[in-house]
């Protein structure tokens, strides 16, 4: 295989990546999809390396995906549930980073409730850091797995009409996707109630719709976002049922998209709030299960590439 041109020390967001680096991750991830479908799914790419998953926010799916990705590549994986431990004891993020540093991890996977916290952490540790979601800022591996899913089902990752629907304002998934899909030259529509869609995103080239029916016309991809329970209390939208009525994806609204449009969702879904259960389960339209599968492969690819750069950098430093 050609050495991929991926020149990053960390994966903190999609923003610092160049288009060919995104392609490098996706190409390698394709190989890992093939590996993961075999009975023997083990590689030695991360053998001898230590991966620590540090989640300052609850997560089942992303953490499991990263854990599985690390284990399949032969890393020693440790999970730390941070919301239960040091934060409660008043330890600062930097102290935590210094403590971890002393354990010599090679890959650090971090999720944190505040935007920018993973950047801050990456400045203080000597290993490769992967952002597993920071506040409302970025969630790069989610955008990459979405991109891989689109590329495999649509056959390309450019010149597509893609609608991102729902709570854009509080969504790091939406931000990373907007940046990634923009870099790959797609047309992006943001659809949602104006209280949940920052109008400033129009300045990044996205088209903004508050009428979902109009927004879904002729799109190739419909990405639904999860509506957090705490946003449903009347502060941002009047009620759950009004939201489903106006912005929930059902068969009637989906019929306005292209006949072969796919439906995506980062999970976990609120059936009957942002998405109709039947659509989520429709194997002709919904690629939600594929997204989960691609997630493991993309994370394997990202960690593999970062580990190669880490090994090279350390070999150079050692002379």
């Amino acid at each position: 295989m050609q050495p991929p041109s991926f020149d990053q020390r960390h994966l903190l967001g999609i923003e610092p990546l160049r288009p060919h680096e995104i392609t490098a991750i996706l190409d390698l991830a394709d190989d890992y999809v093939a590996l993961n479908r075999q009975t023997e799914k083990h590689s030695e790419a991360l053998a001898g390396l230590t991966q620590i998953n540090m989640f300052f926010e609850n997560s089942t799916r992303t953490q499991a995906s990263f854990e599985l990705a690390g284990k399949r590549l032969g890393a020693d994986v440790m999970n730390m549930a941070m919301q239960a431990s040091s934060i409660k004891k008043g330890e600062t993020l930097i102290d935590t980073a210094m403590t971890l540093n002393a354990m010599h991890p090679d890959l650090l996977v971090v999720r944190h409730p505040h935007s920018g916290a993973v950047d801050l952490l990456s400045q203080k540790v000597n290993c490769a850091v992967l952002n597993a979601g920071d506040g409302r800022h970025e969630h790069p591996t989610q955008a990459l797995l979405d991109a891989l899913t689109i590329r495999r089902t649509k056959g390309r990752l450019h010149r597509l009409n893609i609608a991102i629907c729902g709570d854009i304002a509080h969504s790091r998934v939406a931000r990373s996707n907007l940046i990634l899909l923009g870099k790959m030259e797609n047309r992006i529509r943001l659809i949602g109630p104006p209280t949940l869609v920052p109008q400033q995103f129009a300045e990044f080239g996205a088209e903004i719709y508050d009428d979902m029916r109009e927004g879904l016309k002729d799109v190739d991809v419909v990405m639904m976002l999860r509506l957090q329970k705490e946003r449903m209390d009347g502060g941002f939208i009047p009620s759950e049922r009004e939201y489903f009525y106006r912005y929930g994806l059902d068969a009637e609204k989906l019929a306005l998209a292209k006949p072969d449009a796919i439906v995506m969702h980062p999970g976990p879904m609120n059936r009957g709030v942002e998405i109709d259960g039947q659509i989520a389960d429709d194997i002709k339209r919904s690629v939600i299960q594929e997204q989960v599968e691609m997630g493991v492969a993309v994370r394997m690819a990202a960690m593999d590439l970062l580990a190669r750069n880490l090994r090279n950098a350390r070999a150079e430093a050692a002379g």
């Binding site: 600062t92 930097i94 505040h114 935007s115 920018g116 506040g135 931000r175 920052p198 995103f201």
Partner: protein, 437 residues
């Protein structure tokens, strides 16, 4: 003692002039200044003095201006002396050409009783080489419920009343406090901000905050706060100063209020004049201030308003924070920046950018704040206290935050190129700071 400052470039904000001249100081006061003969010979002759009888300082063409009067300096006594004491703040002020600091009451506990006020006055007298004038809280504990003993506190030396960045949300409480303050002849300083809209905000809403995923406040919140306060001024007739006006949208309201004859003045901070929201870049917490940094359009509008005199006063809004308060994710990090020592060099950026001239800068940093507080300083006229700053506006250097005299080193100008620095600072004719050249 008599001192002649000769060959100076005199910056006179009252006359609006920037010209070579000489200045004579006697008994801690300015005796006279003269721009017809920079050698000072005419000045000496007029006052029947001989050069060998007095101290003569050759300013070698450097700028001599009234010392800066800085409204809104946070000294962290009582409560957080490790962040800034009267001693360290005094040294920082002296090194920054600030001869009068007007201190904020947002300490812990707040300065809301004559007893706490007396404590800080005593500490200031012992430790600070510059003039220290304390402000007191407007409401007890800065909680916006009960007004403080305004009369007693004025007699104890409070020069103004402010809850600092806490907005008195209850309009009834605020209107009564304004009415009562008026009867005492007290100046009320407020932070114009709509508190509901700005709750939890760490940035100004816009493209940058949207991209960075930071909780943001619309610049409209400042105008709404100012609009409310102006309405209450029409009701009460109180003397009012808006601590920081930082957005273009608030300016027309301010202009109307002044035209309507209300007793209103407005300030802005040096950071809002010289930095914008993009400086935050990758979540750099030293750029987190309150209100948050604004867009470039807002910055330029505010600079223009200082030039026209619509905004009266430039302050450092000196807010010391220790490393621990800043080494946190942006949303959690404390707001504020130290600025006593960087106020003048940063202001000189506006001079070098040819946006504001030196007399205009010193009108906003010395003359207007002194006038607003009824002080005789802030000018070069005869009889004014000899509070002076001698500075070289051109010397270039790179800012090193660890060289600051403040106990806290949280300056956004760290590692930035600056031009201009203070050579000497005088309070009542005495040199309290001299830079070894």
């Amino acid at each position: 003692m008599t001192t002649l400052f000769k060959n100076a470039r005199l910056i006179d904000p009252e006359a609006g002039t920037d010209a070579p001249g000489a200045l004579l100081v006697q008994g801690g006061e300015i005796l006279a200044c003269d721009t017809s003969d920079a050698s000072g010979a005419a000045l000496l002759a007029a006052h029947d003095l001989r050069a060998d009888e007095i101290e003569v300082l050759d300013c070698r063409g450097k700028c001599l201006a009234p010392g800066i009067v800085d409204i809104g300096v946070k000294v962290c006594e009582p409560g957080e002396r490790h962040k800034e004491s009267y001693k360290s703040a005094g040294l920082a002020a002296a090194a920054g050409g600030v001869t009068t600091i007007v201190t904020r009451p947002d300490t812990s506990p707040a300065i809301d009783s004559p007893e706490t006020l007396e404590f800080v006055t005593r500490r200031a007298q012992v430790d600070a080489p510059v003039n220290v004038l304390p402000m007191a809280a407007l409401t007890k504990g800065r909680e916006g419920r009960e007004m403080v003993e305004i009369g007693l506190m004025m007699d104890a030396g409070a020069v103004a009343f402010t809850d600092c960045d806490h907005v008195v949300g209850d309009t009834k409480v605020f209107s009564r406090a304004l009415t009562y303050a008026r009867s005492c002849g007290a100046l009320v300083i407020a932070h114009p901000q709509e508190p509901g809209l700005s709750a939890g905000a760490a940035a100004t809403s816009g493209k940058f905050a949207a991209l960075r995923g930071l909780p943001a406040v619309s610049p409209m919140a400042e105008r709404m706060g100012l609009d409310r306060d102006i309405a209450l001024l029409e009701m009460t007739g109180a003397a009012y100063h808006a601590d920081q006006i930082t957005t273009a949208r608030a300016l027309p309201a301010l202009e109307r209020a002044k035209a309507n004859g209300l007793d209103i003045t407005a300030g802005t901070s040096i950071h809002h004049l010289t930095l914008n929201e993009l400086d935050v870049a990758d979540y750099r917490t030293f750029f987190k201030v309150k209100p948050p940094l604004r867009s470039e359009d807002d910055r330029l509008a505010v600079v223009e308003a200082v030039g026209s005199g619509l905004i009266d006063i430039i302050s450092s809004m000196h807010t010391p924070q220790d490393e621990e308060s800043k080494r946190l994710p942006f949303e959690e990090a404390a707001a504020g920046a130290v600025a006593l020592e960087t106020l003048l060099p940063a202001a000189l950026r506006l001079y070098h950018a040819e946006l504001l001239d030196l007399p205009t800068l010193f009108r906003a940093m010395a003359l207007n704040p002194a006038r607003r507080l009824g002080l005789a300083s802030g000018r070069l006229s005869a009889g004014a206290p000899a509070d002076l700053v001698l500075f070289d506006p051109d010397v270039p250097y790179v800012m090193d935050r660890f060289a600051l005299r403040s106990k806290s080193k949280n300056t956004p100008f760290d590692t930035q190129r600056m031009q201009g620095r203070v050579l000497a600072t005088y309070v009542a004719g005495d040199a309290i700071y001299r830079r070894d050249v």
